[in-house]
């Protein structure tokens, strides 16, 4: 392209506001494109299989090694246990007194799950739960062993909406 034609072209660009119309064209085209909105309470994104959400715990698998608590960077896992004689096997076994997680401070890094030596893991975060908001500051956030074991897929308050 010669200098003259490019000059003419840039002059027309300037006068005819072609740059502005190009932008207008792009937005106009998008008027008719598929919308990306997810209608949240009705539609829900299915989290990926590895999604780190709310904890689950399996007490039977757990060997009470407390590695998860030790590996937690912010020390929010509280474990107490004592030894008891199992009447059936006549062996001493560790019994959990307490397995609490202060989920309010949890940052869902998943290091506890990585630290767990059992196979399959006895503590895992891949419960596909991401709705952990609550109306009360304390609600649903400090979970003990029973809550951990039967933590529903979703917190209670959305259950009735989902059906």
């Amino acid at each position: 392209m010669s200098a003259a034609t490019s000059a003419v072209r840039s002059f027309f660009d300037r006068v005819m506001l072609l740059d502005l119309f190009a932008g207008l064209g792009i937005t106009f085209k998008h008027l008719f494109k598929k919308k990306e909105t997810v209608q949240y309470p009705e539609e829900r994104r299915e989290p990926a299989h590895r999604f780190r959400g709310m904890f689950r715990l399996d007490e039977d698998r757990c060997i009470k090694c407390t590695l998860c608590a030790r590996d937690c960077p912010i020390d929010i896992i509280y474990i107490d246990w004592h030894q008891e004689l199992n009447p059936v096997t006549e062996k001493k076994e560790k019994v959990l007194d307490r397995f609490d997680i202060d989920v309010q401070r949890c940052m869902f890094c998943g290091l506890c799950e990585e630290a767990c030596p059992t196979e399959p893991k006895s503590i895992w975060l891949t419960s596909k739960t991401y709705e952990l908001a609550s109306y009360d500051r304390w609600e649903n956030l400090y979970v003990d062993i029973d809550e951990l074991q039967d933590w529903k897929i979703r917190p209670a308050y959305t259950d009735r909406e989902v059906r």
Binding site: L20, A22, G23, I26, D71, C109, G110
Partner: protein, 378 residues
């Protein structure tokens, strides 16, 4: 009445009256909790004093409390829009300090993750920068693509923002089945999307008026202030750690480092747009060359650094050179772990760039520095 001071300064002669304007910390375009104390004459800025620290969480103190591997999630929370590069800089420093070598597959996956993170970080930057300048639509277009990047992250490591996706010595998991195909599909279509954003902005005369010649940073200024990353490359210094000291798999892929010489907001914009395209090239090549093998090196059960050893390891993050300086003390915890935050240094030059500019330019300049206050304040 006293005789007028005929040899006075301009201000004493004309009695220019300045106003103090507290720009932030609650302000829509300070990208978090930055506060700029401005001295303005009308709308012209005659003085600017940034006040930071509103997001200070003592991350460096936290690092000293925890064993090396437990610190990775903390690094996510500094530059929270670019967690993967933070992770890489940290684990890189730990590996340097403890002599670990990363398997090649892990190196490739790390490269892919970092480049995807660069794309997502630049997309977020573009979104907020465009909003600052008044164009609201690019925000939604960029977030549409950013969602897809985050989906890829989620599939890989289970988190979308605070990834925690690297460990000293490698990676916590291998890629899930089909991930490479989905990632490949994304990077193949992404350059067309960049063209779309550029169609809205690059040639738009209003955009150009707002950015060309605004906040010009010379090469000397950039070096004086330790400015790194895209800001440095827009000032005519073609320095990129990915090329200069190739780490992970960067030495084995082919890509260009965009350099512009204007040093203004527009050039910084162009650099980042081009970087996004180059990132897709890198990811594509890495996906094609991805070797098989383990993703975790053999490492001691408890990772310890020898007493009085230290290492500084830096990588090219989306915002500039992010580095970690770690001092070991013979225990599993670091004695000192210092972050070299790119945003901290890039923000420092803002008062100089905004001198004698208008309030609207300040917004454009703060936007173009691409700061994340989580990283500035740590």
């Amino acid at each position: 009445m006293a005789a007028p001071d005929t040899v006075g300064t301009r201000d004493s002669l004309f009695e220019v009256e300045e106003m103090e304007l507290a720009f932030g910390p609650q302000h829509p375009s300070t990208h978090g909790v930055l506060r700029l104390d401005l001295k303005v004459d009308g709308e012209r800025i005659v003085g600017c004093y940034p006040i930071i620290g509103y997001l200070h969480r003592g991350t460096e103190k936290l690092f000293e409390l925890h064993p090396f591997f437990q610190n990775v999630p903390h690094t996510d929370r500094m530059d929270y829009v670019a967690a993967a590069t933070n992770n890489l800089a940290y684990v890189g420093a730990v590996e340097k300090l403890t002599g670990l070598t990363v398997p090649p597959r892990a190196a490739y996956i790390r490269t892919i993750l970092c480049e995807l993170q660069r794309i997502s970080s630049h997309l977020l930057w573009l979104a907020t920068h465009a909003i600052d300048i008044g164009a609201m639509t690019p925000f939604f277009y960029t977030f549409r693509e950013r969602e897809e990047v985050l989906d890829l992250f989620e599939e890989y490591c289970g988190a979308r923002l605070t990834l925690n996706c690297m460990r000293p010595g490698g990676l916590p998991f291998d890629l899930p089945v089909g991930w490479t195909d989905r990632c490949g599909a994304f990077v193949d279509k992404f350059p067309a999307k960049v063209d779309e954003y550029e169609g809205l902005l690059t040639h738009n005369r209003i955009w150009k008026k707002r950015t060309v010649g605004i906040g010009v940073m010379s090469k000397e200024q950039a070096l004086q202030y330790g400015v790194t990353g895209p800001m440095l490359r827009a000032s005519g210094v073609g320095f990129d750690l990915r090329k200069a000291t190739p780490y992970e798999a960067y030495g084995e892929v082919d890509f260009d480092v965009p350099v512009f010489h204007g040093g203004d907001t527009y050039d910084r914009y162009l650099v980042r747009m081009e970087e996004m395209r180059q990132s897709t090239r890198i990811v594509r090549q890495c996906l094609d060359k991805l070797p098989d093998g383990p993703v975790m090196a053999k490492k001691p059960r408890v990772l310890k650094a020898a007493k009085d050893t230290e290492a500084y390891y830096a990588i090219e993050g989306p915002k500039g050179e992010i580095g970690f300086y770690i001092v070991g003390n013979g225990t599993p915890n670091p004695q000192r772990c210092r972050v070299r935050p790119p945003s901290f240094y890039n923000l420092q030059i803002v008062p100089e760039l905004t001198q004698d500019r208008l309030l609207s330019d300040l917004v454009a300049i703060v936007g173009t520095t691409d700061i994340v206050l989580g990283e500035v304040d740590r």
